[in-house]
């Protein structure tokens, strides 16, 4: 250990590690090339996210109304106080949590079922995989309009199933369930594909052994498949939870946030572009950023979700 040069991360290729004793010209060249190749991506990502989020924090500490830009003034944390004591923020927050929690839960169950179908199908596997990619690929706004028209009285096939006079999109709870439906329809295939990749890693022999030992199909699923798939499940849940928390397109088209169906993203958008209040809008933006950070942190710390790309050991 002592003999190894300091600072070099343990490389995966053992025989190359020994060669790293003296940083040869080749290694230096490799390092320089590595930095050079990454530099443009890093610069772009920093310039377009890190700098603006800093700017958003700065804006959030100001009273900044776009209608009166000359009156912009430093107000410290009072924008945050205004947001956090406002019922609008908490309504939007609970709506977002509800939609996120319910839709991700449904997606996990449905996605697992579809993954099983794709994994086990004797025939038509290609067709099923092709078909589930359609909801994944379709523009969210298009899908949202389809659902909106389906539930519009005197227009849609789903509204026809309801007693006449019902307009589900104009009432809070029915509208929320329709938002969940639209979200689930669109994103379950993505969940299913991530789970399918996890399913493929479950060794067939282990399942056969469990079968020989007399485990039923359900027992094999709960005791063998799910534990082995835990990393894939956690990654899928993490991705989808963060994505669902940012929900915007579906709600904007379906209800535009009317009848207390707006998510936190909708609230932020409204404050920015309807009320033109850059200070309050930025404070909401920063709060959403913090929420997303907390969710990600909780997943990684509490459930030990391995970050994808973090060299998962197999």
């Amino acid at each position: 250990m002592q003999a190894e040069p300091a600072g070099a991360p343990p490389p995966p290729e053992a025989e190359q590690a020994r060669k790293g004793r003296a940083a040869s010209a080749g290694a230096r060249q490799e390092r320089r090339l590595g930095w050079l190749l990454c530099a443009p991506a890093v610069v772009v990502m920093l310039a377009v996210t890190a700098y603006p989020i800093g700017y958003a924090i700065y804006l959030s500490l100001q009273r900044y109304d776009l209608r009166f830009p000359a009156e912009a003034k430093w107000v410290g944390l009072s924008n945050y106080g205004a947001v956090l004591t406002s019922p609008f923020w908490w309504d939007a927050f609970w709506v977002t949590l509800f939609v996120t929690g319910v839709s991700v839960a449904i997606e996990l169950v449905l996605g697992m079922a579809i993954a099983m179908v794709m994994h086990r199908a004797i025939f038509g596997r290609g067709t099923v995989r092709t078909m589930v990619l359609i909801p994944y690929g379709i523009v969210t706004v298009v899908a949202a309009f389809s659902w909106q028209y389906a539930w519009t009285p005197e227009l849609g096939y789903l509204a026809e199933l309801l007693p006449s006079g019902e307009a589900p999109l104009t009432e809070q709870w029915p509208a929320l369930w329709i938002i969940v439906l639209a979200e689930v329809w669109k994103t379950t295939p993505f969940m299913a594909l991530l789970l399918l990749a996890g399913l493929a890693l479950v060794p067939e022999e282990t399942l056969k052994a469990a079968m020989v030992d007399g485990a039923s199909a359900w027992q094999r699923f709960i005791r063998v498949i799910v534990p082995l798939m835990k990393p894939a499940i956690l990654v899928a849940l993490l991705f989808r939870t963060l994505d669902a928390f940012r929900i915007f397109d579906n709600i904007y088209i379906l209800t535009a946030g009317a009848q207390d169906t707006g998510s936190v993203s909708i609230l932020g958008y409204d404050n920015l572009f309807t009320a033109l209040n850059l200070g309050i809008g930025s404070a909401i933006s920063v709060l959403i950023f913090i929420c997303v950070g907390i969710i990600a942190f909780a997943f990684v710390k509490l459930f030990g979700a391995a970050a994808p790309g973090a060299e998962v050991k197999r």
Binding site: P9, P11, A27, Q29, E30, L33, W35, L37, C38, A41, V42, V44, M45, L46, V48, T49, P52, I53, Y55, L59, I114, V117, A121, F123, G124, R129, T130, L133, I134, Y136, V139, V141, V142, F145, S146, L155, G156, Y157, A159, L193, G198, P231, V235, A236, F248, D249, Y252, G268, Y269, L272, I284, S285, F289, V292, A296, A307, P308, G309, A310, V312
Partner: protein, 277 residues
């Protein structure tokens, strides 16, 4: 065997049909709406009783839609090209080279993949107005390529790990520098992965709505998803349902084409990037 095979076959047919219905029904519904004559628009039928191309003729007659279509195609293509080039460079380094800071790069892309876009809307809106790229193609290309870079880096580095690297070694033995080995040996081998990534990134840019409505204010850069949301009927008593449905179908066509022709690649790209790491 025959009897067992038969019940199995029936069961799988039923399951497959259910999945296909699940995936296609909303798409079918909006397509049916787009072909309905205004007089039958509200009949709630799954198949138009009176077919018409009128809705399509209508939207292609207005610059509101055609201009948005050009914007959508141009912006998505340029953003995809840039993201894939930058992503390929970074992914090659991640997959192949040893250099300090690799983990920082991976961690950073992960952060950006999870970043809530609404948090960037207010600062970007203000910055873009100040430097004068608000409501331009550049103003949308910049956030699109940034937010698709993590996707590009993950997918590409997963593909790059599968490439037979001995060929690169052979090239180096023959006297090629790492840069030459990258350009002449690996790039051609990596082409399928790059192409797949380009499809995924294009779908991502094509899909965006939040930036498109926040960072544009006129037809100059408004993309189709944003334009559709602002469609109005030709009179205040007329809903723009037919036009919206027709426009929706038009922007779904490229997606359907990708899915039909590159299904296997898309699945490989989506799963390799996210799970194998």
């Amino acid at each position: 065997m025959a009897a067992v095979g038969k019940t199995h076959a029936t069961r799988w047919t039923v399951i497959n049909v259910l999945v296909v219905l699940y995936a296609l029904f909303p798409v079918w519904w909006i397509a049916a709406l787009s072909f309905k004559d205004p007089s039958t628009l509200t009949d709630g039928n799954y198949i138009p009783r009176k077919w018409t191309w009128e809705n399509y003729r209508g939207i292609f007659d207005t610059s509101e839609f055609t201009r948005a279509l050009i914007n959508s195609i141009g912006i998505a293509l340029i953003a995809t090209a840039i993201a894939v080039v930058l992503g390929t460079m970074a992914a090659y380094a991640v997959a192949r080279l040893r250099f300090p800071g690799k983990r920082v790069l991976i961690g950073m892309s992960l952060l950006i993949a999870m970043f809530p876009p609404i948090s960037l809307v207010s600062p970007l809106f203000n910055i873009e107005r100040i430097i004068g790229i608000f409501d331009t193609w550049v103003g949308l290309i910049i956030p699109y390529m940034t937010f698709s870079l993590p996707l590009a880096i993950y997918t590409l580095s997963a593909f790059f790990r599968e490439i037979p690297w001995d060929l690169e070694k052979a090239a180096k033995v023959d006297g090629a520098t790492p840069a030459q080995a990258f350009r002449m040996v690996i790039a051609p081998l990596a082409a399928p992965g790059v192409f797949t990534t380009a499809i995924l990134v294009f779908i991502f840019c094509w899909n965006d709505f939040l930036f498109a409505i926040s960072l544009t204010s006129t037809e100059a850069a408004r993309t189709v998803p944003a334009a559709i949301a602002f469609f109005t009927g030709s009179s205040q008593f007329q809903q723009p349902t037919g036009s919206i449905a027709a426009a929706a179908v038009v922007i779904t066509i490229p997606i359907i084409i990708f899915v039909l022709f590159f299904q296997r690649r898309i699945v490989a790209g989506l799963t390799s990037g996210a799970v194998k790491g």
